[in-house]
């Protein structure tokens, strides 16, 4: 049996995953890094990017909007702002969301914090479409 570690993926809205896992690829603030069992303790900020759960052909990818990861030798916890699994992307909904976000982005040019928020929403929508494409090409 492969060596595994406990992996939890949670967002403010729900616990997305809680399972034994063999490998992760995480979009860290200083670039992507891989996690295997027995990894050295690490706390990292996360960038927007693609989280890969599992190894090889069985790997599942998630669009991840940023957050934090805490890596311990036998346990990894990811606190994500938002995630979207690649097999459940609703293209129409994402396109719509992206349209709404880009409108808001234009409307909020004056306010920096809001503008940044909507820019991030747009980027996340793009990322969702991206992982969706990857899923179809698989």
């Amino acid at each position: 049996m492969a060596v595994t570690f406990q992996f939890d993926l949670v967002t403010p809205d729900k616990q997305v995953l809680s399972q034994q896992e063999v490998m992760l690829t995480i979009p860290g603030a200083d670039g992507y890094f891989g996690v295997l069992p027995g990894h050295t303790p690490l706390v990292s900020l996360l960038n927007m990017g693609i989280l890969t759960v599992g190894e090889g052909k069985e790997a599942v990818r998630y669009a991840l909007a940023g957050g934090y990861a805490e890596v311990l030798p036998n346990r990894t916890t990811i606190l994500a702002d938002r995630v979207q699994c690649w097999d459940s992307v609703d293209v129409a909904a994402v396109e719509k969301e992206k349209g709404a976000a880009s409108e808001q982005e234009l409307a909020s040019r004056e306010e920096e914090s809001k503008n940044k928020f909507w820019k991030k929403q747009m980027a996340f929508a793009d990322l969702c479409l991206d992982v969706h494409r990857q899923y179809q090409e698989r």
């Binding site: 939890d8 967002t11 809205d13 603030a29 934090y68 606190l79």
Partner: protein, 295 residues
Amino acid sequence: MASLKALRQRIRSVNNTRQITKAMKMVAAAKLRRSQERAMATRPYSQQMGRMVQSIASRVSKDSAPPLLAGRPEPVKKVELVVFTADRGLCGSFNSSVIRAVRGKIAELQANGFEVSITCVGRKGNDVLKRTFGHLIHRVHTAVNRGLTFEKTEQEIAQPLLHDYETERFDSCFIVYNAFISAMTQELTWRQIIPVPEAAKETENDAVAAPPCYEPDEEEILADLLPRNITVQIYQALVESDASENGARMTAMDNAVRNAGGMLRRLRTTYNRSRQAAITTELMEIISGSESLKG
């Protein structure tokens, strides 16, 4: 004894009340299911977040810790209370228990020489507290539960609060809300959110002894994580409070329906008795009238 007409009117009005409260109970029950799910779904994130903050906090030296974590060097003088209540009433002691606790806390803090300021989340808390502590309330949020999201909480409640902390409007912040236990029970909860409470910092659960690597570095992570943690706690309080409110309202309305039912039964008995009495009297009169004609 009240007249038959008055009794009839009363029965009708009690029956109406019963139907209204019953409808409100149904609405609360439907809302409860959704808000309960949301409260439960939020818990893992805030627990994990709390754990992470603790495990980092326990490894950070006191001197280099940012004010959100360790507090300001000078002693606490100004205390901020964030009070979570409902926007509407008719939910039993839900609002009043929070308000009572806040009153007690304010009296205690003021007696110890602290300056108190209040942020009200929910209309009811503001309505009642402004009568006695109007000068302390400096911000009110209402109708937050409609379309509540994490992002909205962050922008509307957490950011202004953090801004106030940075501009030294207060040195320490508590939140008070009803935590959701079950549909029947809520638990009044006080929690210190700024700075991170001392006791929590010392709990070293399953954290490893070796200091972990930080990416990018400790300070940057804390600078991002701590405000986030405040938002999470506020969001958690909001969803818990929302679920508790619906639970409390459902229970209160259930009691009201039952009371109205009991009242209706008693009124109907009284009504039927007096109707029967009236009929009997009438019959007696007719019989005695015809008897006297015979004679």
